[in-house]
Amino acid sequence: MPACAGAPRSRRGVESGVLNPDYALGLAGGAAIGLSATLLFWTHGRIAGVSGIAGSLFNAGGDRGWRLYFVAGLVAAGLAYRLLIGPVFESSMPRSTLALVGAGLLVGAGTRWGHGCTSGHGVCGLSRRSGRSLVATATFVATGILTVWAIRSIFGGVL
């Protein structure tokens, strides 16, 4: 992979800045995520952290319903998009099933142990200027960067 720092992978040109379609769609999609978090807070008083919502999905107890509905909404969004517009998941990254299982275990246990993921800490936590969430977000971004670097430079991009 050629090292061309600063150039977006989409090859649509970095010179267009925020007008780059990927960046504009990122802002718009991000706004939808932020509004969704407010909707859940307004109606249920809960923080839209997907790992926290999913972590107690299989709890017995009266607190399970809204979690199931939220996760069903996530999947339904994927199904609707797939039916009406196009694929929701595309990846040609060379990753073995074993690597995906390991990654899934790390993400599942890590987000529960760390009390949050990209949404709970990244979006909701940073929105209320939580110091804990800032530390968590900086940590998972840092280890993510190191991991991607290690996979590329030590394992040749294949895992």
Binding site: G65, M93, R132, I145
Partner: protein, 147 residues
């Protein structure tokens, strides 16, 4: 109506993830690839999400209580501890390997492709392992208020 509002919140969340490209692992790995072909899209997604939530959440908390619940959730407070940093570090490694985090993993199930199904199953197993270990520690399941 309570269930519907939660379903709609999940749906809006999912649409946001798809539109912004966050269900494509290459976009995530591209963001984390700061020493290579860096793709800043995820930073725009975070900026859009934080800005939208920051400006609208205070309007919601003007109410004495949420529409369908007794009280607003109080997130964890206090100094960052070892669990927060250790868990987040683990999460980052899995995120870097797969390009998937919990939200996109659920949305990507709709593709019926093997990768997201394997990943999501392992992720739920990882969450289950955490619950078991915590139960041994304290006799009760860990609370899960924050994210």
């Amino acid at each position: 109506m309570s269930g519907l509002s939660s379903f709609l919140a999940g749906g809006l969340f999912g649409v946001g993830l798809i539109v912004s490209g966050m269900t494509r692992p290459e976009k995530i790995v591209g963001f984390l690839d700061v020493f290579g072909a860096w793709d800043p899209t995820l930073a725009f997604v975070m900026a859009g999400a934080v800005l939208a939530h920051m400006t609208t959440a205070p309007l919601a908390s003007r109410r004495p209580a949420p529409v369908y619940a007794a009280a607003f959730e109080r997130p964890h407070t206090g100094a960052p501890d070892r669990a927060l940093v250790g868990g987040s570090a683990m999460f980052g490694v899995g995120w870097g390997i797969s390009g998937l985090c919990p939200g996109p993993a659920f949305v990507a199930l709709a593709s019926f492709e093997l990768r997201p199904i394997v990943f999501a199953a392992a992720m739920l197993a990882g969450m289950g392992i955490y619950r078991i270990t915590r139960r041994d520690d304290t006799g009760i399941a860990a609370d899960d208020t924050c994210g």
